[in-house]
């Protein structure tokens, strides 16, 4: 009897010790996550199914995002912030690239676009090589990691007015917006990510993070069209220091700011041509508010 008890205790103890390395920092268990295996996504006229994404996730995504979707894949230890951000923890239900207001869930289209586009200057590749159905299935899989989708609807996408024509007056007005809401505090007066607050930035998980550098050829992670840039500062990048300016920038002013930001970027643009002719000086951080 005693020997049997001892043997069982040893076996259980060994099992516990062997299980230790697999214990992750994730908060939700496989058991909890699997209750949402019926999650669906709707992208255009395609319906994605969680069940069909299990194999593609294992093949393409688990190496970084981990089997529990918490961003703790095998590759994660080699990604060092701020240069390389860690993979997203899907269990938290917090996403950077959204068309919806800060503090709300992204739409299925937002997640689909993020997978398709990838994230420039990060370890997340463009997955446009996967079929639309596969990507839609993976959107459903991403959603099933977080309980938020079970109880909350995605936010209402913000309204983006039609883009006006670029004019020198609009670029000048954009410079005024840049000065008024003080983007330069992090992004620097020439968009070089060297503002006074840039070096101390941390993301919501306490990891160092750098503001976007407009000048080094990088593409914004949430898209590089004018509409994408509009969305970025009008919804904020949740999980990062980048706030939403929706309450402080009017829609028309927002387009002016987009045009001004283009003048920082190394890619050739109409805005850069006009800015050259305007010979605009960078914003003066020491000038009093409202006097630029």
């Amino acid at each position: 009897m005693r020997t049997r008890l001892r043997n069982w205790s040893l076996l259980l103890g060994a099992a516990a010790v062997l299980a230790l390395p697999t214990a992750s920092r994730a908060q939700l268990s496989t058991y909890d996550i699997e209750t949402r295996i019926g999650a669906e996504s709707h992208v255009g006229n395609i319906t994605g199914h969680t069940k069909d994404a299990a194999l593609p996730y294992r093949r393409y995504c688990v190496g970084c995002h981990g089997p529990l979707g918490d961003g703790n894949g095998e590759n994660t230890p080699w990604m060092e912030p701020p240069m390389y951000q860690k993979p997203r923890d899907f269990q938290l239900g917090v996403f950077k690239c959204r068309s919806t207001p800060t503090g709300t869930l992204p739409t299925d289209q937002d997640l689909f676009d993020a997978i398709t586009r990838g994230f420039d200057r990060s370890n997340m590749p463009q997955w446009n090589t996967l079929s639309k159905q596969e990507r839609a299935d993976l959107v459903a899989w991403v959603k099933h990691f977080s309980p938020r989708w079970a109880t909350e609807k995605p936010g209402t996408p913000i309204t983006i007015p039609p883009e006006p024509e670029v004019t020198p007056e609009r670029i000048k007005a954009g410079r005024d917006v840049f000065a008024k809401v003080q983007c330069w505090k992090c992004h620097g007066v020439q968009g070089m990510a060297n503002g006074p607050s840039a070096s101390t930035l941390t993301d919501d998980l306490g990891r160092p993070i750098a503001p976007f550098n407009f000048t080094d050829g990088s593409r914004p992670k949430c898209g590089d069209t004018d509409r994408d840039i509009y969305r970025i500062f009008m919804t904020g990048l949740d999980g990062t220091p980048m706030p939403s300016f929706a309450d402080n920038i009017k829609p028309d002013e927002a387009w002016d700011l987009v045009f001004y930001l283009r003048t920082f970027m190394s890619q050739h643009s109409k805005e850069k041509e006009m800015a050259k002719q305007l010979a605009l000086k960078p914003v003066d951080p020491n000038a009093p508010v409202g006097q630029q």
Partner: protein, 245 residues
């Protein structure tokens, strides 16, 4: 037959009387609400609070030119009173009595510091974030995303107030990414609460008569509990003493 009839009659009467007592009882409680009051002191010398270097933002350092700012982990008054301690009822409050407060407190960004440093709130209680500064801030609470949903909004000079509320009980750190020294707290509790003033004194109002556990929360020294009994219309006392950690 008669016995059963009697039993049914007795049982029905008992049930009706109990229901009546419950309904009426609540009304009586509302009229006889009491308070919990007391003082929270720091045991021992006040720890030295580091000065804050605000030179990265000249507006902020100018605002503190004659009155340098210090970290506010422990704010100790003249007679050892500990400020910014939140007191709330952690046990014993019936669900019916936990009506959420209807005032809309204000959380201000003033001279590049949060005022108040700690804002106690009820679940779902609306609050307003404002800025009195001529330098841009962003208001960025950091709840645990599994408990409350965070958000991040800019507040440049002249920005309108941001009105929000929190769904669930949690101690939520607040920060400004532009000014990394700015630290504040949203302490979301259920039921009546109070925050100590600069003398360390507090009064929790609107407490129905009963026996409760009161919890005192201080951001670095942790929590302490005490049991109190509040009589109808009377005041119970609970004093606390924290040791700096």
């Amino acid at each position: 037959m008669k016995k059963r009839y009697n039993l049914v009659a007795v049982l029905s009467t008992v049930v009706l009387v109990c229901c009546g007592a419950l309904i009426l009882g609540q009304k009586v409680n509302a009229a006889g609400e009491g308070k919990i009051t007391g003082t929270v002191k720091l045991d021992g010398a006040a720890p030295h609070m580091k000065g804050i270097d605000m030179s990265k933002d000249p507006y902020c350092s100018k605002a503190h030119a004659t009155d340098p700012a210090h970290l506010e982990t422990y704010v100790v008054g003249a007679s050892g009173g500990l400020e910014n301690v939140v007191l709330y009822i952690s046990d014993g409050l019936p669900a019916s009595a936990a009506t959420e407060a209807s005032t809309v407190p204000v959380f201000d960004q003033k001279n590049c510091m949060y005022t108040p440093h700690v804002l106690a709130l009820d679940t779902n209680q609306k609050f307003k974030v404002v800025t009195s500064d001529q330098t841009a801030h962003n208001i960025h609470p950091l709840p645990n995303p599994m408990i409350n949903v965070g958000w991040n909004q800019s507040q440049p000079p002249g920005a309108p107030p941001v009105e929000k509320s929190w769904k669930n009980v949690e101690v939520i750190p607040v920060q400004c990414n532009i000014h990394p020294w700015m630290h504040g707290w949203f302490v979301v509790v259920k039921g009546p609460y109070a925050t100590t003033d600069d003398k360390g004194s507090y009064t929790i109002e609107n407490v129905p008569p009963g026996s409760y556990t009161v919890t005192a929360w201080q951001e670095a020294a942790g929590t302490q509990t005490q049991k109190v009994t509040v009589a109808a219309g009377a005041s119970a006392t609970a004093d606390f003493s924290f040791k700096a950690k």
